[in-house]
């Protein structure tokens, strides 16, 4: 073989007349290159033989429509650009200035700096403070008002008396029990043991108590029993 296979296959797409003699000699001997060149030449012939497409009649109508649309658009643009330029009224300036006052840049309030310092000094604290401030204040339901207003003064007074009464009763019972227990203890040393008997007395006022119980309750209640005891429970 005279020469090596050409690396530039693009040369196979040239017409036979354009090929240089060296390549022609190679093609005469190399089956591979010859096949490639034949295929390229066939492709060129096929591309050139593609049937010419004639413009369809529909193109006339489409172009006429496009030109009219274009002309209308152009005319509209001409008319708009031909409109006379209106002078700006002097009043507009002052109105614009007024409007701009509102939009002028607002300086940061001094408080911002204070808050920022606090924030940087104790970030977690500042954060809690911010969020606490945002918590919604809940309104008490109307139901609660009704529940609280109806019994009012009389019941609170009655409850105070009932409490002191109950206290007096307990104290009375307690002192009675102590007295009896002391008596039983002293007598049991000489006499045989007898069953203890409990006497429960219901009293209606502090005056009904025996002096020992009254003194005990008076001491425990800080004198309150003396005052309340004068009223009928």
């Amino acid at each position: 073989m005279n020469s090596p296979c050409p690396s530039d296959h693009d040369r196979f797409w040239q017409s036979a007349a354009e090929l240089d003699p060296l390549l022609q000699a190679h093609l005469a001997e190399c089956v591979t290159c010859h096949a490639r060149q034949q295929r390229a030449q066939l492709a060129v012939r096929l591309l050139r033989a593609l049937p010419a497409q004639r413009a369809p009649l529909a193109l006339d109508g489409a172009v006429v429509a496009a030109l009219h649309a274009g002309t209308r658009q152009e005319r509209a643009i001409q008319q708009v650009s031909a409109l006379t330029r209106q002078e700006v009224p002097a009043e507009l300036n002052s109105r614009v200035e007024d409007a701009l006052v509102w939009t002028a840049e607002q300086p940061a309030p001094a408080e911002l700096e204070v808050r920022l310092r606090a924030e940087l000094a104790a970030p977690s604290e500042a954060m809690s403070r911010r969020f606490l401030g945002r918590l919604d204040r809940l309104r008490a339901p109307q139901d609660l008002d009704q529940r609280l207003t109806v019994p009012a003064r009389s019941s609170s007074r009655r409850r105070a008396f009932a409490f002191v009464g109950a206290l007096l009763l307990v104290m009375g019972l307690g002192s009675l029990a102590l007295q009896r227990w002391g008596a039983e203890l002293s007598s049991s040393q000489q006499q045989p043991r007898v069953a203890v008997q409990w006497n429960i007395e219901v009293i209606e006022s502090a005056e009904g108590l025996d002096p020992v119980s009254r003194a005990l309750i008076g001491g425990l209640s800080g004198g309150a029993s003396e005052v309340l005891g004068k009223e009928k429970l």
Partner: protein, 201 residues
């Protein structure tokens, strides 16, 4: 510079300022409509897009012809508008037509295969087969990138020289050669199976 063969016609259009498809512009349209449509058809690959691209081309021509100063050949300018309109349209319409072309691809392969099984290399093809083969070649062109498709059409369908292609696409001769070389490689890949099927056993 040689006198542009379209100079008189173009100047007639520029001086008349018609409002539609009439007078000198009608003559210009008649002179170019088939060439424009053919380029648009070969680049877009279908009649519907070719019609749209041709319409757009003449719309642009009509609006801009008044500013044309013969800095390039008028026909190159027309081809450039047609190529750009076709590529833009193809980009806009996307993959829609690729699918339809591939669908016809299979059909043509099957129908022609039986007729051509025992054809010898470069044996003359029957008219029906030639028609089918043209479809295959168009499909191969359609698979190229828009730039390579445009240069292939200008070179082989419109028989433009390297210089004319350079002027139409406004690129250098070197770029024409390298782009065309890449188009050849791509066409070789696309057409080899088709040629093998039609011309070899």
């Amino acid at each position: 510079m040689k006198t542009d063969p379209d100079r008189l016609l173009v100047e007639a259009c520029q001086s008349s300022r018609t409002s539609g498809l009439e007078g000198a512009f009608r003559d210009l349209y008649d002179a170019y409509k088939d060439r424009v449509y053919n380029v648009c058809y070969r680049i877009t690959g279908n009649a519907s897009d070719a019609l749209d691209a041709s319409q757009e081309t003449f719309g642009i021509l009509f609006r801009k012809i008044y500013d044309f100063r013969f800095e390039s050949k008028f026909s190159s300018w027309v081809y450039r508008i047609a190529v750009n309109a076709s590529i833009d349209l193809k980009r806009r319409s996307g993959a829609r037509h690729t699918i339809s072309l591939e669908a016809t691809d299979e059909h043509t392969h099957e129908s022609v295969q039986a007729n051509l099984r025992d054809e010898r290399v470069e044996a003359p093809l029957a008219a029906a087969s030639r028609h089918e083969l043209a479809g295959e070649v168009q499909t191969a062109i359609g698979r190229l990138s828009p730039k390579m498709r445009a240069i292939t059409v200008l070179r082989y369908v419109e028989n433009q020289s390297y210089e004319e292609i350079a002027e139409t696409l406004q690129i250098s001769i070197g770029t024409v050669k390298s782009r065309l070389s890449r188009a050849h490689d791509a066409l070789d890949r696309e057409l080899t199976p088709v040629l093998d099927q039609y011309y070899l056993r």
